[in-house]
Symmetry: C2
Subunit: 115 residues, 2 copies
DNA sequence: GTAAGTACTATCCTTTTTGTAACAGATAGC
DNA sequence: GCTATCTGTTACAAAAAGGATAGTACTTAC
Protein backbone atom coordinates (compact mmCIF):
# COMPACT_ATOMS: atom_id res chain seq x y z
CA UNK A 1 0.00 0.00 0.00
CA UNK A 2 2.90 2.31 0.61
CA UNK A 3 4.73 1.36 -2.54
CA UNK A 4 5.29 4.06 -5.07
CA UNK A 5 5.63 2.20 -8.30
CA UNK A 6 5.30 3.99 -11.58
CA UNK A 7 1.98 2.28 -12.20
CA UNK A 8 0.43 3.02 -8.84
CA UNK A 9 1.40 6.67 -9.12
CA UNK A 10 0.01 6.97 -12.61
CA UNK A 11 -3.18 5.39 -11.35
CA UNK A 12 -3.42 7.85 -8.48
CA UNK A 13 -2.79 10.77 -10.77
CA UNK A 14 -5.42 9.55 -13.20
CA UNK A 15 -7.94 9.22 -10.39
CA UNK A 16 -7.25 12.76 -9.28
CA UNK A 17 -7.76 13.97 -12.82
CA UNK A 18 -10.99 12.03 -13.10
CA UNK A 19 -12.29 13.59 -9.93
CA UNK A 20 -11.32 17.05 -11.06
CA UNK A 21 -13.06 16.45 -14.38
CA UNK A 22 -16.32 15.95 -12.53
CA UNK A 23 -16.17 18.28 -9.55
CA UNK A 24 -13.32 20.57 -10.53
CA UNK A 25 -13.86 24.19 -11.42
CA UNK A 26 -14.99 27.11 -9.41
CA UNK A 27 -18.53 26.15 -8.49
CA UNK A 28 -19.26 22.42 -8.44
CA UNK A 29 -18.07 21.67 -4.94
CA UNK A 30 -19.51 24.88 -3.58
CA UNK A 31 -22.91 24.01 -4.98
CA UNK A 32 -22.73 20.51 -3.58
CA UNK A 33 -21.68 21.92 -0.24
CA UNK A 34 -24.60 24.34 -0.23
CA UNK A 35 -27.01 21.58 -1.18
CA UNK A 36 -25.87 19.44 1.72
CA UNK A 37 -28.15 21.47 3.95
CA UNK A 38 -31.17 20.38 1.94
CA UNK A 39 -32.98 20.86 -1.33
CA UNK A 40 -33.03 24.31 -2.78
CA UNK A 41 -34.78 26.27 -5.48
CA UNK A 42 -32.99 27.92 -8.36
CA UNK A 43 -32.99 31.47 -7.07
CA UNK A 44 -32.30 30.28 -3.59
CA UNK A 45 -29.18 28.51 -4.79
CA UNK A 46 -28.17 31.51 -6.81
CA UNK A 47 -28.36 33.74 -3.76
CA UNK A 48 -26.76 31.39 -1.26
CA UNK A 49 -23.85 30.44 -3.47
CA UNK A 50 -23.46 33.90 -4.95
CA UNK A 51 -23.56 32.58 -8.48
CA UNK A 52 -25.22 34.20 -11.47
CA UNK A 53 -28.17 32.41 -13.04
CA UNK A 54 -26.33 31.79 -16.27
CA UNK A 55 -23.48 29.91 -14.66
CA UNK A 56 -25.76 28.25 -12.16
CA UNK A 57 -27.89 26.81 -14.92
CA UNK A 58 -24.86 25.38 -16.68
CA UNK A 59 -23.29 23.96 -13.53
CA UNK A 60 -26.53 22.33 -12.42
CA UNK A 61 -26.93 20.68 -15.80
CA UNK A 62 -23.45 19.22 -15.59
CA UNK A 63 -23.98 18.03 -12.04
CA UNK A 64 -27.25 16.45 -13.08
CA UNK A 65 -25.63 14.74 -16.05
CA UNK A 66 -23.07 13.23 -13.74
CA UNK A 67 -25.71 11.96 -11.38
CA UNK A 68 -24.78 14.16 -8.47
CA UNK A 69 -27.85 16.38 -8.36
CA UNK A 70 -31.48 15.70 -9.14
CA UNK A 71 -33.96 18.20 -10.51
CA UNK A 72 -37.62 18.06 -9.59
CA UNK A 73 -40.26 20.33 -11.01
CA UNK A 74 -42.94 21.10 -8.48
CA UNK A 75 -46.47 21.93 -9.51
CA UNK A 76 -46.75 24.96 -7.28
CA UNK A 77 -48.41 28.33 -7.84
CA UNK A 78 -45.48 29.83 -9.65
CA UNK A 79 -43.81 26.69 -10.90
CA UNK A 80 -40.77 25.90 -8.80
CA UNK A 81 -37.86 23.56 -9.19
CA UNK A 82 -36.10 21.73 -6.42
CA UNK A 83 -32.49 20.77 -6.73
CA UNK A 84 -31.32 18.05 -4.43
CA UNK A 85 -28.26 15.91 -3.89
CA UNK A 86 -28.59 12.37 -5.16
CA UNK A 87 -27.76 9.24 -3.24
CA UNK A 88 -24.65 8.87 -5.34
CA UNK A 89 -23.44 12.32 -4.40
CA UNK A 90 -22.96 11.06 -0.86
CA UNK A 91 -19.96 9.16 -2.16
CA UNK A 92 -18.27 12.56 -2.23
CA UNK A 93 -18.69 12.98 1.50
CA UNK A 94 -15.10 12.09 2.32
CA UNK A 95 -13.83 14.60 -0.20
CA UNK A 96 -16.06 17.35 1.10
CA UNK A 97 -15.35 16.66 4.74
CA UNK A 98 -11.62 16.56 4.11
CA UNK A 99 -11.76 19.86 2.25
CA UNK A 100 -13.89 21.47 4.92
CA UNK A 101 -11.48 20.42 7.62
CA UNK A 102 -8.46 21.53 5.68
CA UNK A 103 -9.96 24.90 4.80
CA UNK A 104 -10.89 25.46 8.40
CA UNK A 105 -7.46 24.51 9.73
CA UNK A 106 -5.69 26.48 7.06
CA UNK A 107 -7.61 29.62 7.88
CA UNK A 108 -6.79 29.19 11.55
CA UNK A 109 -3.14 28.79 10.64
CA UNK A 110 -3.11 31.90 8.49
CA UNK A 111 -4.85 34.03 11.07
CA UNK A 112 -2.45 32.88 13.78
CA UNK A 113 0.51 33.56 11.54
CA UNK A 114 -0.60 37.14 11.10
CA UNK A 115 -1.33 37.90 14.72
CA UNK B 1 -22.35 17.39 14.80
CA UNK B 2 -25.25 16.58 12.53
CA UNK B 3 -26.97 19.88 13.01
CA UNK B 4 -27.41 22.03 10.00
CA UNK B 5 -27.70 25.48 11.39
CA UNK B 6 -27.28 28.49 9.18
CA UNK B 7 -23.99 29.30 10.85
CA UNK B 8 -22.50 25.83 10.62
CA UNK B 9 -23.39 25.62 6.95
CA UNK B 10 -21.93 29.02 6.20
CA UNK B 11 -18.80 27.93 8.01
CA UNK B 12 -18.56 24.75 5.97
CA UNK B 13 -19.08 26.63 2.74
CA UNK B 14 -16.45 29.16 3.66
CA UNK B 15 -13.99 26.39 4.43
CA UNK B 16 -14.63 24.80 1.06
CA UNK B 17 -14.04 28.14 -0.61
CA UNK B 18 -10.84 28.64 1.32
CA UNK B 19 -9.56 25.26 0.24
CA UNK B 20 -10.46 25.92 -3.37
CA UNK B 21 -8.68 29.25 -3.20
CA UNK B 22 -5.45 27.45 -2.40
CA UNK B 23 -5.62 24.17 -4.29
CA UNK B 24 -8.40 24.87 -6.77
CA UNK B 25 -7.78 25.24 -10.46
CA UNK B 26 -6.66 22.80 -13.05
CA UNK B 27 -3.15 21.98 -11.89
CA UNK B 28 -2.50 22.45 -8.19
CA UNK B 29 -3.76 19.11 -6.95
CA UNK B 30 -2.31 17.28 -9.92
CA UNK B 31 1.12 18.73 -9.21
CA UNK B 32 0.86 17.83 -5.56
CA UNK B 33 -0.24 14.35 -6.50
CA UNK B 34 2.70 13.95 -8.86
CA UNK B 35 5.11 15.23 -6.21
CA UNK B 36 3.88 12.67 -3.71
CA UNK B 37 6.14 10.14 -5.37
CA UNK B 38 9.19 12.23 -4.50
CA UNK B 39 11.05 15.37 -5.39
CA UNK B 40 11.20 16.34 -9.01
CA UNK B 41 13.05 18.70 -11.31
CA UNK B 42 11.33 21.36 -13.35
CA UNK B 43 11.38 19.62 -16.70
CA UNK B 44 10.61 16.33 -15.06
CA UNK B 45 7.47 17.81 -13.54
CA UNK B 46 6.57 19.42 -16.81
CA UNK B 47 6.72 16.08 -18.60
CA UNK B 48 5.03 13.97 -15.95
CA UNK B 49 2.16 16.35 -15.38
CA UNK B 50 1.84 17.32 -19.03
CA UNK B 51 1.98 21.00 -18.22
CA UNK B 52 3.71 23.70 -20.20
CA UNK B 53 6.67 25.47 -18.58
CA UNK B 54 4.93 28.79 -18.44
CA UNK B 55 2.00 27.51 -16.44
CA UNK B 56 4.17 25.21 -14.38
CA UNK B 57 6.34 28.08 -13.29
CA UNK B 58 3.34 30.08 -12.19
CA UNK B 59 1.68 27.20 -10.37
CA UNK B 60 4.85 26.27 -8.52
CA UNK B 61 5.32 29.83 -7.35
CA UNK B 62 1.80 29.89 -5.97
CA UNK B 63 2.24 26.53 -4.26
CA UNK B 64 5.50 27.73 -2.78
CA UNK B 65 3.93 30.95 -1.54
CA UNK B 66 1.29 28.91 0.24
CA UNK B 67 3.86 26.71 1.88
CA UNK B 68 2.89 23.53 0.09
CA UNK B 69 6.00 23.05 -2.05
CA UNK B 70 9.63 23.85 -1.42
CA UNK B 71 12.18 24.83 -4.03
CA UNK B 72 15.81 23.85 -3.64
CA UNK B 73 18.56 24.87 -5.98
CA UNK B 74 21.18 22.15 -6.26
CA UNK B 75 24.79 22.92 -7.08
CA UNK B 76 25.08 20.22 -9.71
CA UNK B 77 26.87 20.18 -13.06
CA UNK B 78 24.09 21.89 -14.93
CA UNK B 79 22.36 23.68 -12.10
CA UNK B 80 19.19 21.83 -11.14
CA UNK B 81 16.20 22.69 -9.04
CA UNK B 82 14.30 20.24 -6.90
CA UNK B 83 10.68 20.74 -6.08
CA UNK B 84 9.42 18.87 -3.10
CA UNK B 85 6.32 18.69 -0.95
CA UNK B 86 6.61 20.43 2.39
CA UNK B 87 5.71 18.98 5.74
CA UNK B 88 2.64 21.17 5.76
CA UNK B 89 1.45 19.78 2.45
CA UNK B 90 0.89 16.46 4.17
CA UNK B 91 -2.10 18.07 5.82
CA UNK B 92 -3.75 17.67 2.43
CA UNK B 93 -3.39 13.92 2.54
CA UNK B 94 -7.00 13.28 3.48
CA UNK B 95 -8.18 15.43 0.61
CA UNK B 96 -5.93 13.72 -1.90
CA UNK B 97 -6.71 10.23 -0.71
CA UNK B 98 -10.43 10.92 -0.76
CA UNK B 99 -10.22 12.30 -4.27
CA UNK B 100 -8.11 9.39 -5.46
CA UNK B 101 -10.58 6.91 -4.08
CA UNK B 102 -13.54 8.72 -5.51
CA UNK B 103 -11.97 9.10 -8.95
CA UNK B 104 -11.10 5.44 -8.98
CA UNK B 105 -14.57 4.31 -7.92
CA UNK B 106 -16.26 6.71 -10.26
CA UNK B 107 -14.29 5.44 -13.23
CA UNK B 108 -15.21 1.88 -12.32
CA UNK B 109 -18.85 2.88 -12.12
CA UNK B 110 -18.78 4.59 -15.49
CA UNK B 111 -17.06 1.71 -17.23
CA UNK B 112 -19.52 -0.78 -15.77
CA UNK B 113 -22.42 1.41 -16.77
CA UNK B 114 -21.30 1.34 -20.38
CA UNK B 115 -20.61 -2.37 -20.64
C1' DG C 1 32.62 27.48 -31.31
C1' DT C 2 28.82 24.39 -31.53
C1' DA C 3 25.56 21.49 -29.53
C1' DA C 4 22.94 19.95 -25.69
C1' DG C 5 20.84 20.03 -21.09
C1' DT C 6 18.69 22.58 -17.15
C1' DA C 7 15.49 26.23 -15.64
C1' DC C 8 12.93 29.30 -16.60
C1' DT C 9 10.77 33.95 -19.02
C1' DA C 10 8.54 36.54 -22.76
C1' DT C 11 5.46 37.06 -26.35
C1' DC C 12 1.56 36.11 -28.79
C1' DC C 13 -2.68 34.12 -29.46
C1' DT C 14 -6.74 31.01 -28.59
C1' DT C 15 -9.91 28.96 -25.62
C1' DT C 16 -12.52 28.77 -21.61
C1' DT C 17 -14.77 30.76 -17.99
C1' DT C 18 -17.33 34.28 -15.77
C1' DG C 19 -20.15 38.24 -15.28
C1' DT C 20 -23.99 41.63 -16.61
C1' DA C 21 -28.09 42.77 -18.29
C1' DA C 22 -31.99 41.96 -20.52
C1' DC C 23 -35.61 39.12 -21.78
C1' DA C 24 -39.26 35.14 -22.17
C1' DG C 25 -42.99 32.13 -20.43
C1' DA C 26 -46.08 31.08 -16.74
C1' DT C 27 -48.94 32.34 -12.86
C1' DA C 28 -50.83 35.20 -9.22
C1' DG C 29 -52.31 39.58 -7.08
C1' DC C 30 -54.06 44.28 -7.52
C1' DG D 1 -53.60 45.78 -17.93
C1' DC D 2 -49.51 46.28 -14.73
C1' DT D 3 -46.51 44.31 -11.59
C1' DA D 4 -44.18 40.74 -9.20
C1' DT D 5 -42.13 36.04 -8.65
C1' DC D 6 -39.99 31.95 -10.31
C1' DT D 7 -37.08 29.58 -13.73
C1' DG D 8 -34.39 29.84 -16.80
C1' DT D 9 -32.13 31.56 -21.62
C1' DT D 10 -29.80 34.75 -24.77
C1' DA D 11 -26.65 38.21 -26.26
C1' DC D 12 -22.74 40.75 -25.37
C1' DA D 13 -18.50 41.77 -23.05
C1' DA D 14 -14.72 41.09 -19.90
C1' DA D 15 -11.48 38.36 -17.67
C1' DA D 16 -8.94 34.39 -16.62
C1' DA D 17 -6.65 30.43 -18.03
C1' DG D 18 -4.09 27.84 -21.16
C1' DG D 19 -1.06 26.58 -25.14
C1' DA D 20 2.71 27.21 -28.64
C1' DT D 21 6.84 28.90 -29.75
C1' DA D 22 11.10 31.26 -28.88
C1' DG D 23 14.50 33.01 -26.41
C1' DT D 24 17.72 33.95 -22.23
C1' DA D 25 21.35 32.45 -19.06
C1' DC D 26 24.59 29.15 -17.42
C1' DT D 27 27.39 24.93 -17.87
C1' DT D 28 29.36 20.85 -19.66
C1' DA D 29 30.91 18.03 -23.59
C1' DC D 30 32.95 17.69 -28.04
Amino acid sequence: MKEHTIESCAKANLAIRDTLDIVGGKWKLILISVLRSGKKGFNELSREAGISPRILSKELQELEMNGLVSRKVCDTKPITVQYELTEYSHSLNDVLVAMEKWGYQHRKRIVQGIE
